[in-house]
Amino acid sequence: MKVPYLLATCALSISLIGMPLQAKTPTDQLIIGMSMNNLLSLDPAGATGNDVVEVNANMYDSLVELDPADTYKILPGLAESWTVAADNRSITFKIRKGVKFHSGNPLTAEDAAWSLQRVLKLNLALASVWKSYGFSAANVEQSIRATDAETLVLTLPEPTDPKLVIYTLGTSVGAMVLDRKKVLANEKDGDMGKAWLTTNEAGSGPFALNEWRQKDVLLMSRNESYWRPQAKLKRVVLRHMTESQTLRLMLERGDIDVANGMSVPDVEAMKKNPNVGIEAVKRGNVYYVAVSAKDVKFADKRVRLAIRNLIDYDGINKTVMPNYGLYHQRPVQMGLPATLPNPGYKLDVPAARKLLTEAGFPNGFKTTIRVLSDPPFINIATSLQATLALGGIEASVIPGTGNQVYGAMRDRSFEIIVGRGGGGAEPHPHSSLRSLVYNPDNRDEAKLTNFQGWRTSFISPEINALIEKAEVEQDEKKQTAMYQEIQKLYEQQVGAIQPVSQMVDTVVLQKDIRNFHSHPASTTRWREVYKQR
């Protein structure tokens, strides 16, 4: 009697647990599975990483937006219109009337000026790009000011291309407009609301933050009084998931709508699933092989050229990079009018050996490759290790976290690095060149750690001068020609950073999701997204 009773109890328990609960996500909610490991702060001024950019792009509004389909197209946002002064030294924005923050406070040009000033005064992560245009904590109150409630004037402290500044306003999350009154009400010890904004928001965007439980879940609900047409979805839920297989299973079961950061094998497997769609978006960053010109070996142009000949571009792009990147060898991101066609570098071992012999290394040498331990970095490094060996260079691979690899690069204490970078959020050649090539002061004590060109100790006064000249050139044709000249010079002088592939991000989503357009600058907006069921 006892055994059947036990079996019946077990069966009942299993059937209770097995009761189906939620087969599909609700129609009016968007459930996104993603890793929140890099979501450390919601403060737009201190945001690092693409995830926080996407979250903030939906809770805040910016003055302008870049069209995800055509990033050259600047669309009005909070600024209805803008005019650039004839001398290119100032930009005047007309701020839209009647916009309200989530708090109900009206949005004015003072809020916009204060938000931008705050980035520089706090000197947080996103101040860097503004500083590169000459803005500083000392000059920001004069250079960024509201002349009245509807007019914002940006006076450029240094000559630069105003288009570049407008692109930054459309792509940098640091340029989002904050509710000054609400932030200041939560200020502590003059921190301009920094501590409070780490876990709260003060925006005017289509969604408002309900709750954020770090590394668990982030809930947003629709802003019912949004100045644009209301978002089509009532709620957006971001759930922290780091394991790609889990994302895949939940997507297949219909428990999530969008999966970010899925591994390439899983993305490949999902391609066969008729119920999901895959969206790949090109980012401005490039995957590269960088050498330190501070190292006596790599200071020799012939050795750098030998390394360029010892990279298996075709092999890496065909076997490692699908879904991670696209074949690209120029320091300017692909697709811009100024970008030259790929030079067609190939693995050429005899040429590399000849160059090494000429440089005094007939038997090669020993070196190290620092690399992130994640794919595709580690796979590129493994390929590089093998091809360097063909040229007689014995390279040992030192895997590490991003922190360790780029930390060493910032300290200029590396020999070879396989990494990723290049800015490129703005669709402008200067954005890539400023990050990868420009090095105005090669001294160690200059500590220009935000310039990857400085990190590699490669300096070319000729290229630097041309980058500076091109940035302020008002004639578009001449400017394009200058940028092309820079790429040719970089090729001739064998720069220390050799791009291998341009970054691609892949998002996997349910087939019934409409209007989900991944943005190359990560400012993917969900206000138009809906489900066709």
Partner: protein, 346 residues
């Protein structure tokens, strides 16, 4: 005379308690000091985690200074201890919250998971171990040994993935990742942080059902490892007891096999089992990082690992301190229970 002897006993107890307290304090202090200095020499830069690798030097220096990293290491440790004595574990870089608040948020999720796991491990592992010991060398014993070996040696990560594929994706018996279906998120007010209890207290039975569906699979998989360990140890302890002379005597007296096994042999292994179960529970509370990763479980292990990978030493130190306290407390409880179950230790 009795007053003197009573005072003497109290004195001895007080001295013993003081002695234990001193050991606990020294152990925790040693643990903290070691973690602090290891954390500081780790090749991980917490500043870069905050400012990102593209920040310029002035931003970097500003945060470096704000984190107090420009001060000598002994001074940083002294400040940490000072704040600790005021109940302040610092602010986690990982979340921007006070570490105490973070731990209070993530620890209940782990307690809930670990408690169900250890209950599963104990209530399945102990009978299996006893069963195997009483059938030594026979088929039943071999089967239990194979199960134990699998539970012990197959990576929990693999079990997790297989469990999800079979019980979640195919059979739809288990919930997916997370503690609850998102549709129910936020419906129950957190009182204890233990979702099952909170849902039951609120009378939200649908939420309770969803939480149960989500916790059963990860808890059972997590409990498998403990179950295997407990079953193996129970079998071993029982075999030792079953070969003792008093067992032969009991059998000669005509006691039933059930009485011999459970009333005589098993009672004598209880003390050892307690230690095993307590330590296994401690390990589970320490955080089941892999299971938490596979099941996107927002628990302590995941928090600690995130802190370690970012070089967030305030979070790591807070977690290490808690782990130390858990183990010390469990050991003290096990010691106290020894005295209850084994009069010789009093």
């Amino acid at each position: 005379m009795s007053i003197f002897s009573l005072t003497g006993r109290h004195m001895r107890r007080a001295t013993g308690f003081g002695h234990r307290l001193a050991i606990v304090a020294v152990t925790l202090m040693g643990l903290l000091a070691l973690t602090f200095f290891i954390g500081r020499v780790m090749p991980l830069d917490p500043v870069l985690s905050i400012v990102g690798s593209d920040a310029d030097q002035s931003t970097y220096q500003q945060v470096y200074h704000q984190l107090g990293l420009d001060k000598p290491m002994y001074m940083q440790f002294a400040y940490y201890l000072r704040d600790l004595l005021h109940g302040d574990l610092g602010r986690a870089m990982l979340t921007g919250n006070a570490v105490t608040a973070d731990i209070a948020r993530v620890f209940p999720a782990t307690i809930e998971l670990a408690t169900i796991a250890i209950l599963f491990g104990t209530f399945v592992g102990v009978p299996l171990g006893v069963f195997a010991a009483t059938r030594r060398g026979r088929l039943g014993d071999q089967v239990v040994r194979v199960i134990s070996l699998c539970g012990y040696s197959v990576p929990v990560f693999w079990f997790g993935m297989m469990g999800l594929i079979i019980f979640y994706a195919w059979l739809d018996w288990a919930g997916g990742a997370g503690r609850i279906d998102l549709a129910f998120d936020g419906l129950v007010q957190s009182r204890t942080g233990l979702l099952l209890i909170d849902a039951a207290l609120a009378g939200e039975w649908e939420v309770f059902h969803s939480a149960l569906k989500h916790i059963t699979l990860p808890a059972c998989i997590l409990g498998l490892h403990s179950m295997a360990y407990i079953a193996r140890m129970t079998r071993s302890f029982m075999l030792t007891q079953l070969s003792q002379e008093y067992i032969i005597t009991a059998r000669v007296k005509g006691l039933s096999e059930l009485q011999v096994v459970w009333n005589h042999a098993f009672r004598n292994i209880l003390v050892q089992l307690l230690t095993i179960v307590a330590l296994a529970y401690g390990s589970l509370l320490e955080g089941a990082v892999l299971i938490e990763t596979v099941f996107a479980w927002p628990g302590f292990g995941s928090y600690l690992t995130g802190g370690l990978l970012l070089g967030d030493m305030n979070a790591v130190m807070g977690c290490v301190l808690l782990i130390g306290i858990i183990f010390v407390t469990l050991n003290l409880i096990a010691d106290a229970l020894y005295q209850v179950f084994d009069p010789r230790t009093r």
